[in-house]
């Protein structure tokens, strides 16, 4: 089975750990790869830099933090949507603010969804569980191939 790999791009290790935990608790069994910034993530996706030996068929789901050093989430989203190979990859933007202009920018660039990181744990878990559900639905057509 050619399962979807989930990429968590998040500079805050604590957030990445929390997301991973909650995804797993919601029953997601897919492979999860974490990156500290956007550059590492794009290097992985396009097999560049430290990841030249990585091969994959772009069966990816990307959870992308907006605010990161070196390369922010918006830049990554832009790069993915520009590339024909990667433009179909579902991207869920993660943000700590509900700044509407930032959200609008992401939708314009073609993100599939966005999630505001809630301070309250229960809500955060709920949000990530929803992503897990999304991932499961996404997996159906892939299985059929």
């Amino acid at each position: 089975m050619n399962a979807v790999t989930i990429l968590i791009v998040e500079d805050e290790p604590a957030h990445a750990a929390l997301i991973e935990r909650n995804l797993k608790r919601s029953g997601v069994v897919n492979d999860i790869v974490k990156f500290e910034n956007g550059k590492l993530a794009t290097d992985y996706i396009f097999s560049k830099g430290d990841y030249t030996d990585i091969t994959h068929d772009y069966s990816l789901l990307i959870l992308l933090d907006i605010n990161m050093p070196v390369k922010g989430g918006v830049d990554v989203l832009e790069e993915l949507k520009r590339n024909d190979k990667t433009k179909e990859i579902p991207v869920i933007m993660l943000t700590t603010t509900d700044d509407q202009t930032e959200i609008d920018t992401c939708y314009e660039l073609g993100c599939n969804a966005y999630v505001v990181k809630p301070v309250e744990h229960a809500k955060f878990s709920e949000a990530i569980k929803n992503i897990g559900l999304f991932v499961n639905i996404l997996a159906v057509p892939t299985n059929g191939v």
Partner: protein
């Protein structure tokens, strides 16, 4: 009605001209009126003089006639005949023959002199009986027959003439002619002129007398021109000649009509001799009578009667003079009118000419008032020229003032823009702060909450495991171990690190706000000493990186010591920190003096900053580039705030991978260190 300047000038000029010319004309007219009157009187006096001479000549002829007759051969023959008893032995002639001869002579004379009415030869011997008498009767000359001859011995003219010496002459008063004691009709004023006749023995024999019709004799006096009349009076003042018949010889009718009754005050005047001219000529104007009068006297001095005279006068109506003077006045008024009209016309034209530049200036001034900038033409050097020049200067001053104002407004706008920029920057800092609170501080909080939840869940799991502790299977043991060894420590670790992060952020914020509040203590500082102190503080780090630090001669500056130390400390710290491991660090610090400012540079050969990141490096908590160094990303914004508070500016030039140069300026206030810019700080 609005009067234009030329019209005003014209009116004023008209008034002035009319006043002047009319005044002049009035005085001219006044004096000319008098002159004209004098002239008229003078002319009248000439007329009187002429008439007097005419009359005097006639009297001379009359005297010659009577003397001629008295000396004639017939007269002498009669004397000799009478003395010879009726016969003249000298000439062998009888008395009757001589009488006949004399009658013929007298008739001839009468025929020639139309004003003579009667010539007689009267003898003394026969009680004054007439010897020969020839007279004019109804325009015919008749010789009176011997029996009609009368005795005249008792008549005044006979008595007076007979008493005269040889060559003496008698002039009678002028009276009306009388026949046998009664006034003859028609009344005829008569003047009798007689001479005495002497015989060979020098004894008086008789007289020759000529009766003259004085009206005819002085007839030229009645031929006066219109508006003038002549008159004559005797020494008593009785009119002898006058246009009005009733006034002539009124004493004959027992009345007194005298010339000085008609012309009052003339009596005194008439008696006042004109000594300068030797004449009794005088004149007087009677406005009430509408008359002017001239008087003269005809004296009989050349006939040996110096006290005897006739008064001769002429009177003219004043309307004659006034008519002339009216003509003059009308002429003057006409001239005045024409002159005034011409003057006014000239003045209006001249005023138009003179006021043209003024009207032009008015037009220009209107346009200037309307906001236009007009070149003011200067045509002349007179007052109007000066006015034009002044107006021109005013316009250019106005222009330059407006330019100044525009420039000032411009610089004011610049200043406003600058200050707005500063305000915007300050505002951005505040917004950054809000972002930090909502994002950066929230981020660790998310973790804390998240992991706290994790721990709670873990503990829940642990509790359920522990509940079943009496029969713990291997699976449970491994779960407990997992919680205790991995899950819980991990969660706690993250909580701790997140909390620490919050603590650091909060203390940084506190520091920033503290810095914002701290009062600067300005003083003269040796920048080199400050830099050396900063380098010493991070000596261990420098040694570790094998960094070489070059410090040039740095100037004295006027600043807050702590602020300057913090600025250099952060910049040097950053420079050392961002040198990639494995590269030998080179840091250079120098200063440049610019106009009124000192600029410090801190150059490193570190990793550099991407050009896109340079604008945000001074932002709060912003960290750019690889996150391989410690820090909260607030150093540069802190530095920037300090530099700004020192009235300076900070900027950065960088090339990615090669190094960065941070520069900051602070005002050079050493020269006037005693008067720092900030009053607040000067109080300390």
């Amino acid at each position: 009605m609005k009067l234009t300047l030329p019209i005003k000038f014209g009116i004023v000029s008209l008034i002035i001209t009319l006043t002047g010319v009319l005044g002049l004309a009035f005085f001219t007219f006044q004096s000319s009126d008098e002159l004209l009157q004098e002239q008229s009187l003078s002319r009248l006096a000439d007329d009187v003089s002429r008439e007097k001479e005419v009359l005097k000549n006639k009297l001379r002829i009359l005297v010659e006639d009577v003397r001629f007759l008295s000396g004639s051969a017939a007269t002498k023959g009669i004397v000799r005949s009478v003395r010879g008893g009726g016969f003249d032995v000298d000439e062998n002639m009888t008395l009757n023959l001589w009488r006949s001869r004399l009658e013929t002579l007298l008739a001839t004379v009468l025929a020639q002199r139309t004003s003579y009415s009667q010539i007689r030869f009267i003898g003394k011997h026969d009680r004054g009986r007439e010897i020969v008498r020839v007279e004019r009767y109804e325009n015919k000359i008749e010789t009176v027959t011997k029996d009609a001859l009368q005795e005249k011995g008792n008549r005044d003219y006979f008595k007076e003439t007979i008493l005269l010496k040889p060559k003496g002459i008698y002039f009678s008063d002028i009276t009306l002619n009388r026949e046998k004691g009664k006034i003859a009709y028609p009344p005829e004023p008569v003047l009798r002129v007689g001479v005495p006749i002497y015989d060979a023995t020098k004894t008086v024999f008789g007289i020759v007398v000529i009766n003259v019709n004085f009206d005819l004799f002085a007839s030229s006096l009645y031929d006066a021109p219109k508006h003038i009349f002549y008159f004559m009076a005797n020494q008593r003042g009785d009119y002898l000649i006058h246009p009005e018949r009733d006034k002539r010889l009124a004493f004959e009718r027992n009345k007194q009509i005298r010339y000085f009754d008609d012309f009052p005050d003339l009596n005194a005047l008439a008696k006042k001799p004109d000594t300068a001219k030797g004449r009794y000529l005088n004149s007087k104007i009677y406005p009430d009578l509408d008359a002017g009068i001239v008087l003269d006297r005809l004296y009989f001095d050349e006939w040996g009667i110096p006290d005897r005279f006739f008064v001769m006068g002429a009177s003219a109506r004043l309307t004659v003079f006034q008519k002339q003077s009216r003509i003059l006045r009308n002429k003057i008024i006409g001239l005045v009118g024409v002159t005034a009209l011409i003057m006014t016309l000239f003045t209006v034209l001249f005023a138009r000419h003179i006021t043209r530049p003024i009207r032009q200036l008015t037009n220009i001034a209107d346009r200037i008032a309307g906001g236009e900038y007009v070149d003011v033409p200067v045509h002349s050097g007179d007052e109007i020229g000066q006015l034009s020049t002044s107006l021109g200067t005013m316009v250019s001053n106005l222009q330059s003032s407006r330019d100044d104002l525009l420039r000032l407004t411009g610089s004011l706008e610049d200043k406003v823009k600058e200050q707005t920029g500063e305000l915007l920057e300050a505002n951005k800092e505040i917004r950054d702060f809000a972002y930090i609170v909502s994002h950066d501080i929230r981020s660790p909080l998310v973790s804390i909450q998240g992991f706290a939840g994790v721990i709670r869940e873990d503990m829940e799991s642990l509790r359920s495991v522990v509940k079943k502790a009496h029969d713990i299977d291997d699976n449970d043991v491994s779960k407990i171990n997992e919680i205790l060894d991995e899950s819980a420590p991990e969660a706690i670790g993250f909580i701790e690190s997140s909390a620490g992060k919050i603590e650091r952020l909060i203390s940084a914020i506190l520091e920033l706000s503290r810095m914002g509040r701290r009062e600067f203590k300005f003083g003269v500082i040796d920048a080199r000493k400050t830099v050396l102190g900063c380098v010493d503080a991070i000596a261990t780090m420098i040694d570790k990186n094998e960094t070489e630090i070059l410090i040039s001669d740095l100037p004295l500056v006027y600043a807050d010591a702590l602020a300057l130390e913090q600025i250099f400390g952060n910049l040097i710290d950053n420079a050392v920190k961002f040198i990639p491991s494995g590269r030998k660090g080179e840091i250079e610090i120098w200063a440049e003096g610019e106009e009124n400012t000192t600029v410090f540079h801190v150059k490193d050969n570190g990793s550099g900053i991407a050009s896109g990141d340079i604008p945000v490096i001074f932002d709060l908590f912003k960290r750019v580039g690889e996150q391989d160094t410690e820090g909260e990303g607030m150093g540069l914004s802190y530095v920037q705030a300090l530099v700004r508070r020192l009235d300076g500016r900070i900027w950065c030039e960088s090339e990615l991978g090669k190094g960065t140069t941070f520069s900051f300026s602070i005002p050079d206030r050493i020269a006037h260190a005693g008067e720092p810019k900030h009053k607040k700080e000067s109080n300390t």
